[in-house]
Structures are given as C-alpha cells and as structure tokens.
Amino acid sequence: MSETIDLAHAPGPRKLQIWRGDLTSGELVEYELETEPGMVVLDAVLEIQRSQAPDLAVRWNCKAAKCGSCSAEVNGRPRLMCKTRLDHLPADQPITVEPMRAFPLIRDLVTDVSWNYRVNKQITPFTPRENLKPGVEVNAKGEFLIDQTDTDRMSEFRKCIECFMCQDVCHVLRDHRLHDRYYGPRFMMRMASLDMHPLDGVDRLDQIADEGGIGLCNITKCCTEVCPEGIHITDNAIIPMKERVVDQRHDPVLKLLHRTPNKGRIKPPPRSETPRL
C-alpha cells in the first residue's frame, strides 16, 4: 500500500535551489518548505510561488505529465517537474531546479521554445498519396485501411508530448548550438513517423538529410535517455531514418542496382526558411 512508501520517505522540510534570473544575470536561490507525502517538484515550486516568491516564473498546465509544459533540469537532468517526486531525489542535498539550456531563457524556469514551432512549420505535413487503391487502401466511406502493425510502429512516435527535453539534452543543439542546421530528435522522429506512414505521398529523405541535418546526430542517445514517454527515439526513429538516407545516397550496391527508396512518393518543394534560434 502507499502508506509503506510514506514511512520510508517521511515528509519533512526540504530545500530547493531554484534558478532565478533572466538572460542577463541570475543565480540559484535557496528556498525551504514543508513537504507533503508524494509531493512532486512542481508542487514544491508552486508552493514556493504561492508563499515565498510570487513572481517566480514557471510554465505548467496539466500537472499530469500529459502536456509537456513543465520541462526543467532537476538535479542537472531534464525532467518533467510534475512527474518527479521529491522523495525519489536524494534527501541529503538541496534539489536544484533550472530551466532548459538549449533554448533562450525568458525568466526563471521559463524558456522560449518557439524555435521548435518554427522547425515544425518547415516539415511538410502528412499528405495522402494520390490514387489510393479503393478497397485496399481506402474504403467506400473514404476511411483509410491501415493495418495495426503499421499503426503500432507510428504510434510510438506519436506518443510525443512535445516537452522538448530531448531537444534540450541533444548536444548538437545544447553544446554546439546548431539550431540552424539540425532539426533535433523530436523532429527527426516526427519526420520518421510521416515517412513510415503507409499512405503518405511525400518523399522526405532529402529534407531529413539536408535541411534536417540527420548526419549531425551521432546517435549518442541522450534524447532516448530523457524522454518521459519512453520513446526509443534513436533506435526506432533516427537510426531507421539514417538507414533510409543510406539507401538513397550512400549504399554502393543499391546504386549499382539503380534502386531508390520511396518510389511513387513526390518530392516536396524545397523549404524557404532556415529555422533559427
């Protein structure tokens, strides 16, 4: 029962060090509060906001790990604040709570994630192939005919709640600041889910390789490590897309045989804009 857990982690006072500041300056500020059993980091931050720091900026919405608003770095690791229990963090030290680093800071724990939306805008949306086969791919009522095996593969990626923590932890963006050359794991995965849609009619490989910059990913898997939805971003989306790009441009055997992937799909017009941070 839940009671046993509470005894093991008896609530009591805890210290939090929360990043306060903006782009120009800032520091970790320490707060102390009484905790309740089962409290998550977001509860603590909101309690501090209510009682000690009314101007503390924090973004949240669902408080149910479903909307992906409350991403922050807790004890140095990207986490959803609403899904991280205080009693799962070491009690002997203060808990640090900082904003994501891959995006410009607005204030305190809130960052400007609008770059992600600009990237998304560059990705050609799902476009059903023309001439879908009646009775095989689409029925008389206009409903798609798709097998569960195909939806299973796509739906893993569609679990994404756009918390952007994978983007935050990806060193291509975080350390190298290549926001203008790499779309980041979240959008590699978005493109993978479109490319793996059996009825999609767009050939996205050029975009994924060129503007998307898939070659910049060195499959170091930090995105997979932090994903709160447990999506195997690297293994199931990025590596398969890298392999598809190999099919298209690197594989000497396929070249010899004149085999190209994504036959019957049309190339989208080249993108006009480079999303910049």
């Binding site: 029962m1 839940s2 009671e3 857990i5 903006d22 309740e36 059993p37 089962g38 409290m39 998550v40 509860d43 906001q49 009314p54 101007d55 503390l56 900026a57 924090v58 973004r59 949240w60 919405n61 669902c62 408080k63 149910a64 790990a65 479903k66 909307c67 992906g68 608003s69 229990r85 607005i106 204030r107 305190d108 809130v110 994630v113 609008s114 939306y117 998304n120 805008k121 949306p125 799902f126 059903p128 029925n139 009522k141 206009g142 409903e143 798609f144 005919l145 798709i146 097998d147 569960q148 939806t151 796509m154 739906s155 569609r158 679990k159 994404c160 709640i161 756009e162 479109l194 849609h197």
Partner: protein, 580 residues
C-alpha cells in the same frame, strides 16, 4: 502595429483557445477564406484537450455494424436526461463520423480493427462500441493532428497570450484585449467575428482533473459581453480521480479501467455498486458511480485516504500494462502503487462542464452579434450529463461549424474598429492588477473560492449549503475589486494571470451555485439532497443565465429546444427505457 504601447492586430476571424474546438474552428475559418488568428493562454498543442484519454464517439459502425447516428443521438439524449438541445445532439451524432475520418486524412493514427478500419471501444452509456481511440491518449493524437494542420494553414497563432476582455462596439463584439504572458505587453485584436473556444472551468474546484487553463474565462467573458449561458448547474464529477497523494488528488483515472474489468470496493471489501446499480455495476453512468463512491466515504466506509478501492489486480498483469499503460505508469510513478498487485484508491473529481454559452447549433453564433462559441465553452449539446467520448466529437463537429459560421459573418461584414474607451478600460483593469492599491492576494482568494465551491456546490447539493455558498461568494464579490498581483513585474507574472482568472472563476461559480439552487430536482449530474427525484417541470426546462455583472445575474427557466422530426426517436427511447 503598435499604438500607445499596445500591440494591435486585425483579423476577419479570431479564435480564442487552442483546444480541439479552437483549432478546428481556426482551420475551418481559414479554409473559408477568412484571415484567421488564434490566441491561447498556453503553448500550442498543450491545451486541456491533450489530456483526453478514452476516445471520440462516432457511429462509424466499424465494430458494431448496426450502429448509426440515430442510436448515437438517442444515447446522447438519454445520457443528458433529455435536457440537451436536440438539434445539437442530432448534428453531433450525424457529423462525428465525418470528422473522425477527416482527422485520419490529416494524419491522425488510430487503433485498427482486424479489417483495418478504425477500431472502436465501449464506454458507459453508449449502446454500441463507438469510441475511436488510440491507446489511452486519444486527445493527444487529436491535438497533434489539428496542431500540425493549423501550423500549415494560414492561421496566425499567438501563444501564451491571455485575453481579459471582449470589446464591443455598440451591440456587436468587434475584438478583444489582453496581454502576452511572456513579456506582459498589451495586445488588442480587432476581429469581424470572434470564436470562444476557451474550454471549461474545472479549476474552481480543488479536486479536479482539469488543467490550469480551465478557469472559465470564456463563460465570464461571454457573460460580460451580454451572451446567455445555459445549463450551468450541471458539472460532471468523474467518479474516479486519484485521492492520494495530496499533490495529485483529482488526477483522472480513466473510465477504461472499469471498462477493462476494474472492480470498486469499500474498506470492508464489499463490492458496493451491487447496492446502487446491481445491473450495470461499475459501468453505470458517471453520475451514479460518483454519487455511490461519495456516499460510501460519507458513511464511513471509505479507504484510509477517503476514497474507494478500484481493483484490477485480478486481471493478468501484462494485459493491464498493455491496455492501460499510462494508468500503470501514473500510479507507479506518482503514488508508488503497482496497480497489477494492489488496488487504487479513487474518488470523484470535477471533470467537465455540460453548461456553457448558448449558441445557435448550426453556426455557433451567440445572441451577441460577432460572438461565437464552441466546445466545452458552449452549452446545450450534453444536457444534464455528458457521455464519455462525446466531448471529443462535440469539439470537432461544432468547432468546424463555429469556424465556418464566424467566417460567413466576417465575410459579410465591413471593417470594424475598437472603440478607444473600451480599450482604455480594458487596459486600466490590467494596470490595476499590477499597480493598483488592492491588497487581495489572488493565490489566497483562489483557494478560498475552491473551498466554498467544494463545500457547498459539490456533488450533492441542498438549499442550505447552496445559500451559504452564495453568501460567501458575495463576500468575495466585494473583495474581488481589490485583487492585486503580489508582484508588479510584467514578464511571466503568475499573479497577474491569476487575478483575472479568479474574477472569471468567481463569476462562473455564481452561475453554478445559483442555477443549482433554482433547479429543485435531481437530474443527471445535479443532485439535490432536498429534492431527490425528477421534476416534470424541470425535465422540460433549461436554465438560462444572463446579466450585466455578477451583482445582477438573472436566471430564467426556458423550455428545452426540441425538433419535431426527432420526436419519434426520443419517444422510442423513452418507451424502451420504461419497458426495461
């Protein structure tokens, strides 16, 4: 364009809200050729709709070929205890299948039948297996699909922008006013037509499944602009929310848990639903199950944390993990409970507002020219009680209709402009929250409000409790003018945000409490301890709320809006019910 420090924008159609209904409305308006803007308090893709789990009700007949719109219509009417707007229930039942297919064409991916069509699952109150779904995250799938569609339509999106006022020119709504949350910059929109898609108001209760967005802004804004609201007394309490630990109290435990065979027990191990609804047991309608759990707890048979046990540990653990993945995670992560081994503790949680702005079913138009409403912000479709799955259909069907209705109005209208005094007034309100002389702390007042509503206007109501609650709400009325944000900074100021929200919530609370006091019967989600049965009179009447402010709020019973051609279907259902 900027004017006196106020950023200014002009649109044909402006949609407030980026939930399913707002996005669908914006897409429709843009497709109809209107220059369309979309404003939301949160980031795009994070609106409350994202939390919906179970599915979208549409009579596709993929799993049950005998299903059709008429049965769906009848189920909706029966669920709503015949207080629904008939036309809305009809349109919803007829159009939901097209809206579901359309989502697929826009890239949504739903679970399949062996015949490779969209699969459908059973839910309380639906005669057939009807809910299109994907795992237990259907809302996310919808939001992401609509979000991507919107991003690639000609819709301009203003994220993290809060609207605090609708602006009228004479009788007509011509725009709105608010501020950008990130910077505190003021912003004004002129729009030939404005669609409210602002969702519900769950945050007036402490225990709620709703997200932070849900503060009833649309209800209050529409009311202040002169629109009518309907059915506000009907607040759906979902029977199963988490009760423990305190931080997550209210978090939804999806109905699918019971659908998959979960059993409810009290602290003595008794399967108490046998006493309340022996026929349908755990799968009785939401109002009945919620009241049953509440009664068990009240009579001292609750669990240590004040709920009931909901148990799936008799099911195969792998099955539970496959069918209810996010429930398994949620309890393991947040409560330290492995639901495949131990029972959950659950209790009722505020979930959905059946009531809302009264609209024309076909176009979403309110009685105020230029103002439209849709989704949970509008009322009428669900009557006294909503069936699970009907909201996701509702927001698509009526989102599209409102978007088209607004575009038609905009296309037929000349240019509009914002009267300067109204803008100045709206600006003064925000500046008052920041720099005024008020002393009331919005965080504290929000808590007080939640307590009043929880104590007096909860699941069970009676005259004494309601009157007392209204009295206390009136005390808050006097203080609400004194609200001031504890900090006067402009950028991302949570206190500023809450000031206006608390005002909105207070207005909404008044509507609920007063309508609940007026409706002297128990029906659907509204249960009066002092009037336990159905009343013939109230069975034929909706309560309309209107006025010019919280101090002058008038409530008028009005006959239910029927339709002759549907009479037969409704009568048939009533007969069938009597027979069983």
């Amino acid at each position: 364009m900027s004017d006196g420090g106020i950023e200014h924008h002009d649109y044909d159609v402006l949609v407030l809200g980026s939930g399913g209904s707002g996005l669908r409305a914006a897409i429709a308006a843009a497709e109809a050729g209107a220059r369309t803007g979309l404003v939301c308090k949160s980031l795009l893709g994070k609106a409350h709709t994202v939390m919906a789990e179970g599915g979208l009700a549409a009579s596709l007949g993929n799993v049950a070929p005998e299903d059709n719109w008429a049965t769906h219509f009848q189920d909706t009417m029966f669920g709503g205890k015949y207080l629904n707007n008939w036309r809305m229930a009809e349109l919803h039942a007829k159009e939901a299948p097209d809206r579901a297919r359309e989502l697929e064409h826009w890239g949504a991916v739903f679970d399949r039948t062996p015949q490779r069509t969209m699969s459908q699952r059973a839910f309380g109150g639906h005669t057939y297996k009807r809910l299109v779904h994907i795992g237990d995250r259907t809302g996310l799938e919808m939001i992401r699909t609509l979000h991507d569609k919107t991003v690639h339509s000609d819709v301009e999106v203003f994220m993290e922008t809060t609207i605090t006022r609708l602006i009228k020119d004479g009788e007509r709504v011509v725009g709105c006013f608010g501020y950008r949350r990130q910077t505190g910059e003021l912003i004004a929109f002129a729009a030939k037509a404005l669609v409210l898609a602002t969702g519900g108001s769950g945050r007036i209760y402490k225990i709620t499944s709703n997200s932070q967005d849900c503060t009833g802004d649309g209800y209050a804004l529409a009311f202040e602009a002169g629109a009518q609201l309907v059915d506000m007394e009907f607040v759906q309490f979902h029977p199963t929310g988490m009760v423990y630990p305190p931080g997550v109290a209210g978090l939804l435990v999806t109905e699918a848990v019971r659908g998959e065979g979960g059993i409810l027990r009290n602290k003595d191990g008794e399967r108490f639903m046998e006493r309340y609804d022996p026929k349908r047991m755990e799968l009785s309608t939401r109002d009945v199950v919620a009241r049953s759990i509440y009664t068990e707890v009240k009579e001292g048979r609750g669990t240590p944390h004040g709920g009931a046990y909901l148990d799936v540990s008799h099911l195969d653990p792998d099955y539970v993990k496959r069918k209810l993945p996010s429930m398994y995670d949620q309890f393991l992560e947040l409560a330290g409970v492995d639901i495949t081994k131990e029972p959950m503790q659950v209790g009722p949680t505020c979930h959905y507002f059946m009531g809302g702005v009264k609209v024309d079913p076909d176009t979403g138009a309110t009685r105020v020219p230029g103002l439209f409403a849709t989704g949970e912000a509008s009322g009428g479709m669900n009557g006294a009680n909503r069936l699970g799955g009907n909201s996701l259909g509702d927001i698509l069907v009526f989102g599209r209709r409102a978007g088209e209705g607004a575009a038609a109005t905009a296309n037929a209208s000349g240019a509009v402009s914002l009267p300067a005094e109204a803008v100045a007034d709206a600006r003064a309100e925000i500046e008052g929250f920041l720099h005024g002389s008020g002393t009331e702390n919005p965080f504290h007042m929000h808590r007080e409000l939640q307590k009043i509503m929880g104590d007096g206007v909860g699941i069970f109501r009676d005259e004494e409790g309601l009157t007392e609650a209204i009295g206390k709400l009136e005390e808050l009325d006097a203080r609400v003018a004194n609200l001031r944000a504890p900090s006067d900074r402009l950028d991302y100021n949570p206190g500023l945000q809450l000031c206006r929200e608390v005002r909105n919530m207070l207005t909404v609370s008044h509507m609920i409490a007063r309508a609940a006091l007026l409706r002297e019967e128990s029906r659907g989600a509204h249960s009066r301890l002092d009037h336990t049965g159905y009343s013939d009179y109230w069975g034929e009447h909706n309560i309309i709320v209107e006025g010019t402010g919280a101090h002058d709020m008038s409530l008028t019973p009005t006959p239910v809006v029927k339709r002759d051609e549907l009479e037969e279907l409704v009568e048939a259902r009533k007969e069938a019910e009597k027979a069983s």
